[in-house]
Symmetry: D2
Subunit: 162 residues, 4 copies
């Protein structure tokens, strides 16, 4: 069975609008990134929303949980902005059973030279194939359980709470 990739936006997919100098969302870069990685893993990509995770509402989160809970696949990657990734991870962790769900994202847009996006995608794809059922965040080369993770606002890195 293929791996399901659910796209919600986040820094990962931001682009630079050269006419107004603002960052915005156009399309997801997931396919392009998987091609660059010469990935041969069978995946199905679906764009659920394209938003900054600071603007994600409770309704948006319900939608993500619902799609993960009802997906036929039992291995799911959710791309997500890092600012509220831990909030969505908790919502998923409290509701989704019998599946391995891995949230990942990027600190710098994929399209900018200094992005961690390709590295994170590589690690998320590996973690989702190997971790037991549960909900995880894959960032900084590590994985974290949904109930023991937060983003350190000062360093930008993810860390265990306790």
């Amino acid at each position: 069975m293929p791996i399901r990739i659910i796209v919600t936006g986040g820094t990962f997919d931001k682009e630079y609008n050269e006419l107004d100098g603002k960052l915005y969302f156009k399309d997801t870069h997931l396919r392009e990134m998987l091609e660059l990685g010469r990935s041969r893993v069978e995946v199905g990509i679906r764009t659920l929303m394209m938003i900054d995770s600071l603007e994600m509402t409770e309704q948006d989160r319900h939608l993500i949980v619902d799609r993960c809970a009802h997906a036929r696949e039992d291995r799911i990657i959710v791309t997500h902005g890092t600012d509220t990734m831990e909030v969505s991870a908790r919502a998923l962790g409290q509701s989704v059973r019998n599946k391995t769900v891995v949230l990942t994202g990027a600190m710098v847009p994929y399209k900018f030279g200094s992005s961690d996006g390709l590295f994170n995608l590589g690690s998320a794809l590996a973690f989702v194939q190997t971790l037991p059922h549960g909900v995880y965040i894959a960032m900084n080369g590590k994985y974290f359980s949904w109930d023991n993770v937060r983003k350190n606002r000062k360093t930008g890195a993810f860390e265990e709470i306790r």
Copy 2:
């Protein structure tokens, strides 16, 4: 305990010599790549050799096996040229016990725009943290057991033998 990374060269670390137009090895890019990935995984990097894997001798392979067998760490990544990666994987698989060893590399040098290196490193780092003891190749987003993998010379992709 940190993860041991053993560098042997390969396409991963090739650079372009602008004076003679040839590809060559200078230093490993592993540290730079882990920084780009904002990796927070504790690792120790050691450069064992810096060679094209087509030029790797039996003696070189014995050295790699020896270092993996005698490493204090039980989680080891070996960066390696893709051309004979399966040969070194077999040598390691037949000798190393009680450790998780993951070989990885790149089809295109890290320093060139179209490299799969960062993606592969991200996946190798995730696989080495989660796979049970054994020897594996991590390429194309997948992992392969040392006794069931070959590089397809036509497509450049790794695949299972049977």
Copy 3:
């Protein structure tokens, strides 16, 4: 005599702040860009300000004009945001005599993959060495006289007024 490069900021030098997701100015990338271009042209770089050209005041423009008018060098490049580049070009054109001044900038920050910055810098450096005294904008591979140029807000390209 070396060529004077006066840095005023603009898209050229914007960077992505990975902690708050906003674009900001840190240092100029001019030295790094000239190194990438293997430039052997003798230049002196001075950062006069680091601002978005939409926020440039009349006072800022007086300062730029003053520095160009009083520079010892008679060949000067001014890096500048594209939004009000034509305004500064007019201010310079009406005041600076006996010098070749070339304004240039970028539609996309140098640090992002799709930047036109390096191309523009190469052309500006060539134009400033070859054009007769006067004030010009170098963008889109072309040069424009200060009194016959505007930025087309729809296409983002510079064009002659008449």
Copy 4:
């Protein structure tokens, strides 16, 4: 009248073959580079050959001279490997009259991160629009007359002979 661009290959256009690890020529990147530079200069691009300039024969050089001499355009850029660029410049300088011909190239392939190609193309395009009739090399941000230029084999930079 548009500017004629004649492509002869050289480091500029080399690519990395990920199946055999060798550098090779596929297509020219000129169009892509001009797009990246948001160039609005009218140009006509013709690929005359795609070779390493070390392999360029007298016959190849006659062909280049012939095409420049008989081109309808009087402003011509020739992309060329740097190793024998000065030889072709001399051949052109001794034969082509009433035209501005600018040879340019790159020390590192355009497709590799550290390429000077885009910078050189920007400067060549500017020089060809502004220099009087004659044959020139545009490298390192400078222009050199065909009869007073050589590549310094140790530094890789172009310099005047006397």
